[in-house]
Symmetry: C2
């Protein structure tokens, strides 16, 4: 199944047209390599769940089943457990978003919300707008519904809203089904949308009457600087996706979505069709985690941990990588984005990197159209500071050979330019 062995497919030609567009996840495909003990993984965005106290979770898991057995073991409502939705109300209030519990649907991670929103909005050929690069899981979810994805470039302040404006002017009002953005510590770019641009993005969305989907998995993982208000706090028509994967544990597969009421009704229908309801069993545990444990201490510890790792990675990048490589310095989250000289193909380089004992995610996984070939996402969330330093050192080794070649090219190019200008 996961192997490269070619299997004769007698069902070929009988799958839905959409399956031609559904991409495999490069990150998933690397999970095998990432679990080899001699390979340092800078690829997967796996949280450091060892900081979550297993004994505490074990205790609340047992108590939840014992005291709420009839609910934990039974089918639940499609919207999600009321108590957990109250937890989400409080979490959202802390970031400036006032909601009622009935404005929330609990999903199987934010990923399910992406799938449901794509199902609700996208007809084949519809245009959706994302940042470029963007979260590969979003591209996967969307691709099953066959949209045309337009990517807006970013700089250090996040999505280039001036480019967005040009694009929207070209498309006209309602010219796209939605704008998908990760404003905080973007995956994979690591950059954060500035306060000014948040306001401008919302103005443009209103002007062109296009829904905005705000995906905010990393918002609480800020290492420095002040928190910025989420888009949803500035405009109550924004569709907001949250997740417990980064503030608790991804193994429970719990996230949430809030959207204007008519859209919520559609999401709910799509959710019923997709799985009837989420796991009450996991929801009972999550509710207890956020109401009966010292989860804020754990989260503080996690933020400190990730912050140290970010420092370790960024320092090592400065120390080991040659000046031709540009990279971001995120103020939170999980990822650094590195851009290499244009002639380097990070996908073809990957096998060599694995041989050198390090993995990353090739940049083209984060574009719908093959761009990003000379880029890579480097995750600092999972490896220890020592491993991060060693991983970057190994990566630098792998790059060195290619860069030697690049420099030779450059000198040749410089030389021929001189020749041209002299002639």
């Amino acid at each position: 199944m996961g192997t490269a062995r070619v299997v004769f497919d007698r069902w070929e030609g009988r799958y839905a047209a959409r399956m031609a567009d559904v991409r495999s996840s490069a990150v998933r495909d690397l999970f095998g390599a990432a679990t080899r003990s001699d390979v340092i993984s800078l690829s997967g965005g796996m949280p450091e769940i060892s900081r979550v106290p297993a004994d505490v979770v074990a205790r609340i898991a047992a108590a939840g089943v014992r005291e709420d057995a009839r609910e934990a073991l039974q089918y639940g409502s499609s919207e999600g457990r009321p108590g957990l939705r109250e937890v989400i109300v409080e979490l959202m209030a802390e970031i400036g978003v006032r909601l009622k519990a009935e404005q929330i649907i609990v999903t199987a991670g934010a990923q399910q919300a992406l799938d449901l929103l794509a199902k609700v909005f996208i007809d084949p050929g519809d245009i959706v707008i994302t940042e470029g690069p963007t979260y590969l899981g979003a591209l996967q979810a969307f691709s099953a519904y066959q949209p045309k994805v337009i990517c807006i470039p970013m700089d250090a302040e996040g999505m280039r809203v001036d480019v967005l404006e040009e694009q929207l002017r070209e498309l006209g009002p309602r010219g796209a089904k939605f704008i998908y953005t990760i404003p905080n510590f973007q995956n994979p770019a690591g950059v954060t949308l500035s306060a000014q641009r948040r306001r401008r993005l919302l103005e443009l969305a209103r002007e062109y009457d296009i829904p905005v989907i705000e995906d905010d998995p990393y918002g609480r993982l800020r290492f420095e600087g002040g928190h910025l208000k989420p888009l949803r706090a500035l405009d109550d028509e924004v569709i907001y996706l949250g997740t417990f994967s980064k503030i608790f544990a991804p193994g429970l597969r719990l996230g949430w979505v809030t959207a204007p009421r008519p859209i919520m009704a559609k999401i709910l229908l799509a959710k019923q069709a997709a799985d009837l309801c989420g796991s009450a069993y996991a929801q009972v545990t999550a509710e207890r985690y956020f109401t009966r444990t010292r989860w804020r201490k754990v989260l503080q510890d996690l933020v400190r941990t990730y912050s140290e790792r970010r420092d370790a990675m960024v320092e090592a990048l400065h120390e080991h990588l040659p000046p031709e490589v540009r990279f971001t310095r995120p103020e939170g989250g999980f990822f650094v984005w590195a851009e290499l000289p244009a002639f380097i193909d990070t996908k073809s380089l990957l096998a060599e990197a694995v041989e050198h004992g390090v993995t990353y995610t090739p940049g083209d996984a984060f574009y719908p159209d093959g761009r990003g070939k000379n880029c890579m996402r480097l995750a600092f969330c999972y490896a220890s500071p020592d491993d991060l330093r060693e991983g970057i050192r190994r990566l630098a080794e792998v790059l060195e050979d290619r860069l030697e070649l690049y420099r030779a090219f450059q000198m040749a190019g410089h030389f021929s330019e001189e020749v041209r200008s002299a002639s």
Copy 2:
């Protein structure tokens, strides 16, 4: 959201075309009424999870988190936890299906597998074949992909394969994307596909080269008679869906799918797009439940419980319902299907029934095209024998008024027929 209040939808016209076809679940909509203590629910297919020992589940839940924390709390593989897939290998071997673990993908209940298979196979306008009536969750899952659903009628031996043959002859080879069947104790009809018809269905599927999806949630809940081999045991190209919801607990949302290798690769891609991976947290518990507890005793107890409830319901139906009502006598599973005189609309009758303190599921929920209006599904899985008897008594009361009218009509009809034949 769930209310009937009409909300102005400024996004109307911007949803995907498929959303026009996605139906709400009548069962879900009734959950509110079903939880009122004065109403006896014969509607929802909720298992009697009080038979599952909560203290045992609490113990293994805690042990699973403590001993397998790194796996229980982390992202898992999209295929599912290896140990749980081994459990499924053994469960399948017991019903005559030999598999390897890599032939199995763990899903969020069998419902997710239905959604993924629909995603993989159905283009708008494609034909899919189901029994009629059929599982409403399947109709919901399929409807999001806009197929044309053709329903094959059933009798006491399950799907009428002679009608299927006529239909296939009309459609021609590969004329449908798949045939979806629930061979054991069908939901909602309660009938079981006979051994002879199983073989014939498979012959026809091979002859017309159409994949078969076998949905088997109730196979282990047989009260009497011998077990029949699943279709998958007779033909290894059959796509088989299983679930832990009825042999353990639906709150964990765990099921599985096995299919020929090329189809599995497509399902896996669709699953990654839908939720990245299933809940490792729930999978750790389920694995321990089937390897470290006396789950067979619990299942025996459940089968005995459901069998007694089937008896209570069927006896009460014989005792209270007038002879104009026909109903099935299932040898297992959760449901009885009742057919009333054609002029009775069970949906319009439902409000009255709720007032009388009983609910059922109106028959048209189980057809894609408005048929089944004079039918109802009666679930015996959830209420106690006493409540089942009282529920049927209340139902009979509600029906009595309508049937009086019917008898008057019939006599009038009989009279006018006599007049006609005399003239």
